[in-house]
Subunit: 362 residues, 2 copies
């Protein structure tokens, strides 16, 4: 087991990465304010891991309630969030009960937002069971639900007390989701860590083959990058926006197709290539650098072009994105592999052109 | 105009109290991060004050969107909150647009919570137009909506950038609402400020007659008390709970009758007497002190007994309250006039007895 810390002063918390952590409730119990937790999970993860976690907690004398959500991005909405509140109240959970998110990014984002809002804030713990959640969404305190007009539009910055990333849970992850998680792993290399990008060029096949050591290394290096960025800029006033490489394009893909059609990581991969294309058009990077990013994404089995969606539809959806500032489109662009910047330098026409060159046409 | 400061470090903000502040957009404009605001108000307040505020802002070059809510505590729910999000997105409001709450406590609580959640947090300003909002809900950053199982169950601690309390707006306030606001004013005296309580004993009729100087004095002294408590304990881990005198009983009254039947301040007044009664039963205060509080509330035209509601129903509703900790009922009780404490010393039987003695029986 390796342990990192997100050094946010009085909101600091540890991230444990390793095998068999689901049984290690000794890591979790010291963070409980009362011997009671509510575990939020979904219908896919519950049969795999819920009983193991719940048993381990019950043996330690903890009262465990469980809250089951339907599985899928399309359920990341008010209705599902409300069902968490209903369950918390019906089961007499209190402000000092701890909410535990057991699952992927959707479960983590919704559970975190529920914890932020229930009685104006209760403690919560992240136990991510997908690669995407282990390397990205469980760390850094971004919680949210979607709105019909935009992804993650309604949410809060709310930090967990603890993150437990049990790499054994990746054993049951479908291949497609493993690859989608790798999109975010590769992202850290592209935006700020050339050495990590090079390590991935060497080890991407080991990750795809689920070699436990390769995956643990990829998760730790990803979390370390994320933790550094979050500590420097918790509320995304500056540097943290770099983590959104490919995301403004990607969110448009997800919203345009209907949430759940493409996985988040797949949309981010295609969006990353749009950002790279735009950076190329601006003369900020050269073709071989674009090709290098593209090649690694392709080796990871990820899409490198967007789906059939009119360019005008992209622009319309992107204008709703949170990264719009004073009417200008702020995008994460590349100055090199391992060096991203936030910029509003690209005109809408240039953005449209980059999308067109990186999309499948109807 | 008098100005107080809520000294919360980087989240510090001023409260201006005085006449004609609705026209003083010079007080507001320096706090805007972009020249765009969305004013949230309701169907009662809009015809009275919306145009005046909007005009004053437009003359200063600010783009103004307005969002109209239905009036009433029964609309303090998800559906109405969602209508704010819909409007913000339809009008292309951004993370740096400022949300302005123009109205009473319901408008302020919902607008504040919308600001806390929209794109994970946008700036907001409180312009309270009721006495209750000016002395209580607009100050301190408690935002929330109701849940069918409990009042203010879903919310956030989220501080405004500025509070503008224009005492002229109290001129249009119905008498019943003025009296309800006085319940919270009296509360500050009862929990921690005997001198203020004595001032109110001298001046309650001037307040009821809407003497501008008496009202301004009552508002400033209330806000000063509230600001001191909030600064000492922003997230209600201790002292801040004192502000809930009468509220756990009061919330049960509001929920038991259906939100909107009794005004919040009316329920708090009756709840305050239940807390005083319970303190008397515990031997913590004497009958003349109970009578002194009762007399002042009565002079303010407020109820001093609860409505027809079974004691068991009270207890059931109170158990859902946020003040429950590890299964014990934490209540604000009195050690004297001007001296409240938070305590779980009262047994459920004693609580039931106090409720019974202070309720109208069916």
């Amino acid at each position: 087991m390796e342990t990192l810390t997100v050094a946010l002063g009085e909101r600091a918390y540890p991230i444990h990465v390793g095998r068999g952590l689901l049984d290690r409730c000794d890591l979790l119990v010291p963070f409980l304010r009362q011997p009671k937790v509510a575990i939020v999970t979904n219908s896919t993860v519950a049969p795999l891991y819920l009983e193991r976690l719940a048993q381990s907690l019950r043996r330690a004398g903890v009262d465990v309630a469980d809250i089951l959500l339907p599985d899928g991005e399309q359920f990341k909405n008010w209705q599902t969030l409300n069902s968490i509140f209903d369950a918390l109240l019906q089961r007499r959970c209190e402000r000092s009960t701890t909410l535990v998110a057991l699952g992927g990014g959707v479960v983590g984002d919704m559970t975190g937002f529920a914890a932020a809002c229930f009685q104006r804030g209760m403690p919560f713990i992240q136990i991510p069971t997908t690669l995407l959640a282990q390397v990205d969404s469980s760390v850094g305190g971004k919680t949210a639900i979607n709105h019909p007009l935009g992804k993650n539009m309604i949410g809060a910055f709310y930090q967990p007390k603890l993150v437990l990333a049990d790499t054994d849970t990746l054993g049951t992850l479908p291949d497609r989701e493993l690859r989608a998680g790798l999109a975010e792993v590769i992202k850290y290399g592209v935006i700020r860590d050339l050495a990590f990008f090079e390590w991935l060029e060497e080890n991407i096949e080991h990750c795809l083959q689920r070699d436990p050591e390769a995956l643990a290394e990829a998760i730790c290096r990803s979390c370390r990058n994320k933790a550094e960025v979050v500590v420097a800029d918790e509320h995304e006033r500056g540097e943290r926006a770099l983590l959104n490489l490919g995301h403004t394009f990607g969110h448009a893909i997800e919203a345009g197709l209907g949430y759940g059609e493409w996985l988040h990581g797949e949309a981010v991969a295609a969006g990353t290539m749009m950002a790279a294309q735009l950076s190329l058009q601006l003369g900020w990077i050269a073709s071989p650098e674009v090709a290098r990013v593209e090649h690694l994404l392709q080796r990871a089995g990820l899409p490198v072009t967007g789906p059939t969606l009119a360019v005008e539809r992209y622009l319309e959806l992107m204008r709703h994105d949170k990264k719009v500032l004073a009417g200008k489109l702020n995008l994460v662009l590349l100055k090199g592999v391992g060096h991203a910047v936030v910029s509003d330098a690209a005109s809408l026409a240039e953005v449209a052109s980059a999308i067109a060159r990186r999309s499948v046409h109807a």
